[in-house]
Amino acid sequence: MSEVSEVSEVSELGEPREPTSSPTQTRAVLSCTGLARAFGALRAVDGVDLALPVGARHALIGPNGAGKSTLFQLLTGGLRPSAGRVWLDGRDVTRMSDARRARLGIGQTFQHSSLFLSMTAAENVALAVERARGAPWSPLPRQRPALRRRIDELLADVDLLARRDMPVSALSHGECRQLELALALAAAPRVLLLDEPAAGMAPAETERLAALIHELPTELTLLFVEHDLDLVFRLATRVTVLHLGKVLLSGTPEEVQGSAEVQEAYLGTGRRADLFVTDAGPERRDGDREAESP
């Protein structure tokens, strides 16, 4: 297939790193090689290699339509790839369903809050906890105390204990995002994929979320898509830039911020404006000064 040739092309484009052969697969918690998915003529994801070592804080950025959400779904099992492989702990999970992958340790939150709207915050978490404890087949009414303790613990972890018995419909947008996180954490996943965790949040809510993510156990591996680049560069230890379905660049936050290529992908050629204004400062920016003059 043509995807095979694309794979080598991508690794040439990406910054130099170890080849993604079996030794890397075994050390990485979650990895993929040559992952591709086409929708008709559109190659949404086109030969992506990625390897997340234990405890990674890996961000996935890129302009709209770069294929971030599709890549996420390929990793979680929501979509099947047209080519390529996905490994979890050195095990090939490419052909496994999303439910199976979740049981093996892939947790996720969704771009748009995906909760159980007829239920309270505690009932939402209960579904996640029951699943993790392996009890959801019981046709007899549940034993509450142990379950309740664990639910309270998880709600407290995301600062939602006070909202315990509120229906989800009464929670604010930011609180829904926090609850998403509690659901994903209930099963103690090996790797957690967050799809735009701060989308639509007010600044104060984003701060709270950043603090929550910062406090997550260090052995938990994180991959997150985020449009708030300030947040990305605060939380991530490694950033992968996706453009038109391919990896444009993978590196440290500093490397990505300094890359002209990334600037172009976001803003188009001929205009190098303030993409990374926050900390980078004008001296970091290269290229045409005249583009800035009004």
Binding site: G78, S114, L115, S118, E130, P136, W137, S138, P139
Partner: protein, 308 residues
């Protein structure tokens, strides 16, 4: 309503239902039995429609399969009530396993149409397999069930028998709804993709809901066979399935007693008032259905919540 007052209300309703055959005449007692049979069927359908979010248009198939199984056993094997009930339960479950394993893979309108066509297939089977089902005549002359050798031939004792099975069936359904399994089914109704992301293999749970609902509907079918003494293909076709779905929606889906209330209303309008309206029972039923859908979305059981 607290758990205590709810329990008191259920107990009071049961006392009234148990005492009713003592004061009602034979015709009204038989109607009460009919209502209870239909109520249990509607409640079992609600496990699919209201709790799991799977609107099925073929529930008559499991109900009818149970009725045929009970009728056949009573005619050819034994009159024993426990045996006929067990046969009907098993037959309802078996038909639901077969139909469910196909239907549950589909979603939305495809699920709806699949359940409808599977129901029609079962009806056609009852028409064609005459050596067992009696063809279009159905099974007739079904003897009344016996408990410990005593035939439940009179209307009053049969009504109590129906009430007892109704209570057991409803208790089982309420128990499941309040259990982790019930919570799982509600989770699937609310957000199946999220359930899968949490690691739930939703197909298995939906199939389980299908089988439980089919088994309880089969149980109700056995009561129906004993009550009518006749089972014909029409009892498991769309007419029967549609009325069940109407009962659920009129009463209120995903409510504890709404489907039972809806079932009682459907029986009253269609079978009791219908004949005195020159056979226009279904017209009246349709009008009531439309009125409820527009005036009380969520069904009669949610009236209290709307008022309060």
């Amino acid at each position: 309503m607290t758990a205590r007052t709810r329990r008191a209300a259920v107990l009071a309703a049961l006392v009234v239902l148990a005492a009713a055959p003592l004061v009602l005449n034979d015709y009204r007692s038989a109607t009460l039995a009919r209502m209870l049979v239909f109520a249990l069927t509607a409640a079992s359908l609600d496990l699919l429609v209201g709790v799991t979010g799977l609107p099925s248009l073929g529930h008559g198939a499991y109900f009818g399969a149970g009725a045929y199984a009970a009728g056949w056993v009573a005619l050819h094997v034994t009159h024993s009530a426990p045996v006929t009930l067990a046969a009907a339960l098993a037959m309802g479950a078996v038909v639901a396993v077969v139909a469910g394993s196909v239907a549950v893979r589909a979603r939305g309108v495809f699920f709806l149409m699949l359940t409808l066509s599977l129901g029609e297939i079962v009806e056609q089977l009852a028409q064609s397999w005459s050596s067992v089902t009696g063809g279009s005549d159905g099974l007739y002359g079904i003897p009344p069930p016996e408990i410990a050798g005593i035939a439940l031939a009179d209307t009053r004792s049969f009504a109590w028998y129906v009430l007892a099975v109704f209570v057991v069936g409803m208790a089982a359904l309420r128990c499941i709804v309040g259990s982790p399994l019930g919570a799982t089914l509600r989770g699937i109704r609310d957000n199946e993709a999220r359930m899968r992301a949490l690691g739930y293999r939703t197909y298995h749970y939906k199939l389980a809901a299908f089988v439980i609902a089919g088994a309880i509907a089969g149980l109700a079918g056995a009561l129906f066979a004993g009550l009518q003494r006749v089972v014909s293909p029409g009892d498991l076709g769309f007419g029967s399935s549609g009325a069940m779905l109407m009962a659920v929606i009129i009463g209120g889906e995903a409510t504890a007693w709404g489907p039972c209330l809806g079932a009682a209303i459907v029986v009253e309008l269609r079978d009791v008032l219908g004949p005195s309206l020159g056979g226009h029972g279904n017209l009246l039923l349709g009008a009531v259905f439309v009125a409820v859908v527009f005036a009380l979305p969520g069904g009669l059981a949610r009236l209290r919540r709307v008022a309060g």
